[in-house]
Symmetry: C2
Subunit: 233 residues, 2 copies
Amino acid sequence: MSVNTAIILAGGVGSRMGVDRPKQFLMVQDKPIISYCFDIFQKHSEIDNIVVVVSEQWQPFVEEHARKYGVDKIRGYAPAGKTRQHSIYNGLKCIDANCPGTDIVIIHDAARPLVSDEIISSCIQGAKDHDGAMPVITVKDTVYQSKDGEIIDCLLKRSELFAGQAPESFRFKRYYQIHNEVTDEEIGATAGSSEIAYRHGMEIRMVKGSERNLKITTIEDLETFESILKGGN
Amino acid sequence: MSVNTAIILAGGVGSRMGVDRPKQFLMVQDKPIISYCFDIFQKHSEIDNIVVVVSEQWQPFVEEHARKYGVDKIRGYAPAGKTRQHSIYNGLKCIDANCPGTDIVIIHDAARPLVSDEIISSCIQGAKDHDGAMPVITVKDTVYQSKDGEIIDCLLKRSELFAGQAPESFRFKRYYQIHNEVTDEEIGATAGSSEIAYRHGMEIRMVKGSERNLKITTIEDLETFESILKGGN
């Protein structure tokens, strides 16, 4: 049995929705979105620990709702970083300090409250069989590449394209070590949490994601989430 | 002034929606989707001619509705081909036979009834300034590339990725000539109508597309279209 620790990223403070708070803290049926996310990881039998990355300002709110909904796997809070990958690094440090023996880290976005148990399990399995795993779905767009943003260079092969989701999972020690060894600039320039892994030789397996595992970004996404909660989807 | 001829592609016979007819012939508010598309090209001051690619079986339906809604720019019908690009080639032959003096061809999908006048105009302008043009929108997904479909090779730079829409526009003579010169296999292997153009040296400019210019593929898309027609979006 491996020890599996989840990092829940809730450090974002902006909102593209023009509402009064970051999207992961919006209330849906009187419960913040992040709590739906906690529920899934709390109940999942393969998740041993949870670490939360959150800004100081929102930590009391998160702690209060964790208590309210009986989330007892939380082992620590880490401060939000200046980029998503810096936040992840803060979460990794928190695991190193508070979750001894962690074999696999599972990094999830608080704004993806519809992740399934199956996706979490297959991410854990993928990190056991390889060095890491990421759920993906097919890309529906016809995607062209243009280096200058004006003239088309080429059409990309749809069969080779995959849209990445969360959670991403990694063998903890190796992933943490990479972060300790690279420059701060490299961490800042990382656009996806798998990128820094495969760039440093980790083999990242793709596992089956789901259309339903959406990241709540727009009002429309929020409505979809509400509709799914009501059993309408 | 250039002579601009539109090809409306309505040759598809399948349906992913599980309904009784190809999606471009579905009735929305008692009017087939293709007729909404015709309306836009009929009214557009820069469009001189329309050529329709349609299967023999559906041609009478299209002709009847073209009469009913006063579409008098239609100069000819071409048979559907075995692939989308073969259908385009049939449309190009029809232009060569029936629309003398055509400078620019604008190729549109009958199932995109929400294209704007502005997009059509900028496609025409783009084909005048370059060799062709295609409307694009940004790609929202985080797109990874994997050659084997199992292990991630790389994360693609989002700033270099664009989702292609229709209509695509080309300088007619050169685009037609390419089709006359290449093998039937190459036409069949073409995944996007711009692909065969830039592969043979034509410079294709990207112009601003729109989220609204959706291709009706799913029941959800159909509902979005209906909602927009009702002014709900």
